[in-house]
């Protein structure tokens, strides 16, 4: 933008309460009120900058998910996985614009049941300062709020994507995502973050171990059950490994997710509050690190050799685990949570496998199991107790799992949810997209 218009624009931007910087020059008679206005405006601006940065970090998590899923699946299904993850971001943002945001933050009236609310279609910022400095007592603008929350939305669906990978039909899956992201996620989200009934009950979920990860996890579990295991995963009763094809991409994904989590958790403070945010970043990082150590130990002991894919799952497990209580647990507890979630993740992946629940990327383990664990771990903090936490976990379970199950079943018995045996063997890249992910490279498609 050309710099000429700036000064004009700025003074405008500072809104009602602010002084045009212009006055900086001629040291006019400034009153304390002027100074305070400018100071509050500066505070508003920095809070908003922080929330925007957090938004970027959450955005990049979608690339992280895409890479983790790609790395843990086979080369012949890569294009399909990348496609799904790209489409989900778009679907998530657009449906959130249309209805999600107003479904999640309906602004429940006093004494409302707080079970369901909808503030209408589309998004529009309140006029003037009400959409700016006054919107969230100087923490962020209406638009920042919308975008930050919108970036969260798609996450729930992305989690499902990995679990049903390598066999799900593209079209029907996108339909599932649309419904789940547009309605289920924001609706149940309103119970807590929308200030609904669960919030009233004292349930605590700082950044979404339950509201985001478990919600996605329940969807994943439902999907896995309805669609069934991949061909070759269980051969006459025996569990067979189907190896992922690209460990560097998996690693890129895991690190990007960790990076994104700084925004996911750090941004959930909903202001740049130095003390609160920096503390959250520390608990988040230490839990992730502990998750690595925990899973490394478990993997080394159980599998004899340390499994990279397990250790990276462990890092994510630690991150999901700390998400519910990142701001209320102590540093020590953050490390414990990481160690527990990390080691549990290793066992959990194996258990799901033996339960014939074929989850190529461990989404159910990382997001559902550790999401629940993390939510319960909140109880270790002085001002929270196990009761409401259990209530929360159960409430989301009894709504999300069945609804996901129903959506998937309806799709299964109408348009069908699974590709043909031939297509699955040949790979979804050729089947659904008529493309190859690594054209010219030689790899065995039958493995």
């Amino acid at each position: 933008m050309s710099k000429l218009k700036k000064i004009a624009m700025l003074s405008l931007a500072l809104g009602a309460v602010a002084l045009p910087m212009a006055t900086m020059a001629e040291e006019a008679e400034v009153t304390a009120a002027d100074a305070m206005a400018m100071a509050e405006n500066a505070m508003f601006t920095v809070n908003n900058v922080w929330m925007m940065v957090a938004t970027f970090l959450v955005f990049i998590m979608h690339l992280g998910f895409a890479m983790v899923e790609t790395g843990l699946t086979r080369a012949k299904n890569t294009v399909n996985i990348l496609f799904k993850n790209t489409a989900i971001v778009a679907i998530g943002l657009l449906t959130y614009t249309l209805i999600g945001f107003n479904l999640m933050y309906p602004g429940f009236a006093e004494g409302a049941s707080g079970f369901f609310g909808f503030a209408g279609f589309g998004v529009a910022a309140p006029e003037g300062a009400d959409g700016l400095i006054n919107y969230a007592s100087g923490n962020y603008t209406y638009w920042t709020d919308f975008l930050f929350q919108g970036m969260f939305a798609a996450t729930a669906a992305t989690i499902v994507s990995g679990a049903v990978a390598e066999r799900v039909k593209l079209g029907p899956f996108l339909i599932f995502c649309t419904i789940y992201v547009a309605i289920i996620y924001p609706w149940v989200g309103s119970w807590k973050w929308g200030g609904g009934w669960l919030d009233a009950k004292g349930f605590y979920d700082f950044a979404g171990s339950t509201l985001v990860h478990s919600v996605g996890g329940w969807g994943a579990l439902a999907g896995i059950i309805v669609i069934g295991p991949r061909i070759g995963k269980y051969v006459n009763g025996k569990v067979k490994a189907i190896q992922g094809h690209n460990m560097p991409l998996l690693t890129i994904g895991a690190f990007l997710l960790w990076l994104g989590w700084f925004g996911f958790n750090g941004g959930s403070v909903l202001s740049a509050d130095p003390g609160a945010v920096s503390f959250v970043l520390v608990t988040t990082s230490l839990s992730a690190a502990a998750g690595i150590i925990g899973s490394m130990a478990a993997s080394w002991i159980i599998q004899k050799q340390p499994d990279l894919s397990m250790v990276l799952n462990g890092a994510l497990a630690g991150l999901v685990g700390i998400t519910a209580g990142a701001d209320v647990v102590s540093v020590t507890w953050a490390i414990i949570i990481g160690l527990v979630c990390g080691s549990v993740a290793v066992v959990s992946v194996m258990v799901f496998d033996r339960l014939k629940l074929d989850d190529p990327v461990g989404a159910t383990t990382v997001h559902l199991v550790c999401g629940i664990l993390g939510t319960l771990f909140v109880a270790v903090s002085p001002d929270h107790s196990i009761g409401p936490q259990l209530l929360g976990v159960v409430s989301y379970a009894v709504v999300c799992f069945p609804s996901a199950l129903i959506i998937f079943l309806v799709l299964k018995y109408t348009v069908g949810i699974r590709v043909s045996k031939e297509e699955e063997l040949k790979g979804l890249d050729l089947g659904e997209h008529g493309m190859e992910a690594y054209h010219g490279f030689q790899f065995f498609t039958n493995v």
Partner: protein, 113 residues
């Protein structure tokens, strides 16, 4: 001794391996290959440009066997690889006058197994 060369569909590999095991043929070598034959190939469209793929992914198996095993081996391959569709593949059988096991230096029939 004979050297049996078979081109099969990649998807069929596991079943072929299985039926070879059943036929007590445990030794084989496979490589990645691309083939074109009656199977016409398919059309990808990449960025809107139609692309006719006529070299399709195949798996090439090479199995050296003693003469008495030829029949059972080819049958096993056919059992595992036949889907009845074009593209199932071919088996080529050539004479194998000599075979050596590197580890022991053994030669001939006993080296094959």
């Amino acid at each position: 001794m004979k050297l049996i060369i078979a081109y099969i569909q990649p998807e069929a590999l596991n079943e072929v391996k299985q039926s070879l095991y059943d036929a007590e043929v445990y030794k084989m070598s496979i490589t990645n290959a691309m083939g074109c034959g009656q199977q016409k190939g398919y059309h990808e469209t990449y960025r809107g440009a139609d692309i006719e793929v006529n070299l399709l992914k195949k798996v090439r198996m090479e199995i050296a066997v003693n003469d008495e095993y030829v029949e059972s081996t080819t049958d096993a391959i056919i059992r595992g690889a036949r889907s009845g569709n074009i593209g199932d593949g071919k088996i080529f059988i050539i004479d194998l006058p000599e075979c050596i096991r590197i580890r022991t230096g053994e030669k001939g029939p006993e080296a094959v197994g």
